[in-house]
């Protein structure tokens, strides 16, 4: 007994140190689960409320720029509406021949917490499951795609940023059939990589990258970025393209969440078809 007490007096701090490191390690290897346990993460009630207050305080900065952007977008949309109406009239398509025009639901949200300086970046939104948010919804800023919802609590949700080394978004080159996956290698917050582009298909620097519509998170054709340069490693058959991302991730603010309306139906059907 005496020896045991002696042992603890001598090596107690070693044991405590090892125990603490072990707890940290368990958190680390659970990694993604940590994000799901919204109780502890930034989506928790108290933390979320605090971040919301901070967001309210700092949201007055860059109002001018944001206004400018909204104006720009508004006029672009108006132009687009005018063009679409014109072509609609020109074609005289019957109403029943049109597919359901708006296949996607939208939820407006604000980014109340954001990180860009890690390799695994997340941001927190001020809407949660009570507002209809679900895991897997796409998040889009006025300029383009910014992330995918990873977890949600009743009032908040956490999204995996495009600037996360675990993020993969199915994209394609606009006006073509070249589909590839967009990922982020860390570091620069303005560029991402489009990998495994087939070598025989043609594209040019400056081509716009949009979502492919193959995943349920985003409809087809949402802006992502623009190709700056593409290259091929010696001996490789695929090309890699550097993409300048449109959104400015350092100052994310107003975003929309998207969800395909018939997603549940599709999921159920696919599950049924699988053995």
């Amino acid at each position: 007994m005496h020896a045991l007490i002696q042992f603890f007096l001598r090596f107690g701090h070693v044991l405590l140190f090892v125990l603490m490191e072990a707890i940290g390690f368990v958190l680390l290897v659970q990694g993604n689960d940590f994000q799901h346990s919204v109780v502890f993460s930034s989506a928790a009630r108290v933390n979320g409320q605090l971040y919301e207050w901070r967001e309210q305080t700092i949201s007055y900065f860059n109002l001018r720029e944001k206004n400018q952007l909204l104006w720009q977008q508004n006029s672009d949309l108006q132009q687009q509406i005018a063009r679409l109406e014109a072509s609609l009239q020109a074609y005289q398509i019957q109403e029943q021949a049109l597919k359901p025009a708006l296949d996607f639901d939208f939820i407006h949200a604000r980014v109340i917490k954001n990180s860009v300086s890690m390799l695994s970046n997340y941001f927190t939104l001020d809407v949660g499951s009570l507002d209809g948010v679900e895991k897997g919804m796409g998040v889009v800023a006025p300029e383009g795609v910014v992330g995918i919802v990873k977890a949600c609590s009743p009032h908040y949700s956490v999204a995996l940023s495009v600037l996360n080394v675990q993020s993969h978004i199915s994209c394609k080159i606009k006006d073509s059939d070249v589909v590839a996956s967009l990922s982020w290698p860390g570091g620069d917050t303005h560029t991402a990589l489009l990998q495994e582009l087939p070598g025989h298909l043609m594209w040019q620097d400056g081509d716009t990258i949009v979502t492919s519509g193959f995943s349920s998170a985003f409809p087809q054709g949402i802006a992502v970025g623009r190709i700056i340069e593409s290259y091929k490693a010696p001996g490789d058959i695929f090309y890699t393209a550097k993409v300048a991302l449109f959104p400015r991730f350092e100052s994310l603010d107003n975003v929309r969440l998207m969800r395909r309306k018939l997603q549940d139906e599709q999921n159920m059907l696919e599950e049924e078809a699988m053995p």
Partner: protein, 162 residues
């Protein structure tokens, strides 16, 4: 003695708040300085290993849960807190310094001690971060760039010591 503990807890709380609330809003490319390390650097030398470990672990957990960095802050902060006292004893030429600082230790030995702590902490932290995605150039760049940023901030804070 009592007021000394309160003072250090207050500094730690203040730096943690800065780290959680203010630093994510400021962007130095994608470099992350860890200003809260300064609180640990100046913890008194008489504090027991247990006090060091416990305080660092709790602070690390607070950061992990606020910044969505699973286990990374708690592991790296606990690690430096464990090696802090031996390092201090090894690098300090003077006997019984109350509180590490330029004044009490001398310019060179204090900064040697601070740089070593910062390097140990940042190396552990970014190594753990690279569990998600490993690339040696990225890792080395992040360790050295962030260490430099933290060091500059610590140097700045040290000017304000009385």
């Amino acid at each position: 003695m009592k007021s000394g503990v309160m003072k250090h807890l207050l500094i730690l709380a203040l730096l943690l708040m800065l780290q959680i609330w203010v630093f994510p809003l400021v962007h130095f490319w994608s470099i992350t300085p860890f200003i809260y390390l300064y609180a640990l650097i100046i913890w008194p030398a008489q504090w027991s290993v247990y006090a060091n470990l416990f305080l660092a672990f709790v602070a690390g957990l607070i950061l992990d849960f606020s910044l969505d960095t699973p286990g990374m802050h708690s592991m790296s902060f606990t690690l430096v807190s464990y090696f802090r006292l031996p390092l201090l004893r090894w690098l300090s030429t003077k006997e019984d310094i109350a509180e590490p600082g330029e004044k009490s230790m001398g310019f060179l030995s204090f900064w040697k001690y601070a740089v070593l702590l910062i390097l140990i902490h940042h190396s552990t932290f970014f190594l753990l971060e690279s569990f998600a995605f490993f690339s040696l150039p990225t890792l080395l760049f992040r360790i050295f760039a962030s260490s430099l940023a933290t060091l500059i901030l610590c140097f700045f804070l040290e000017r304000f010591r009385r």
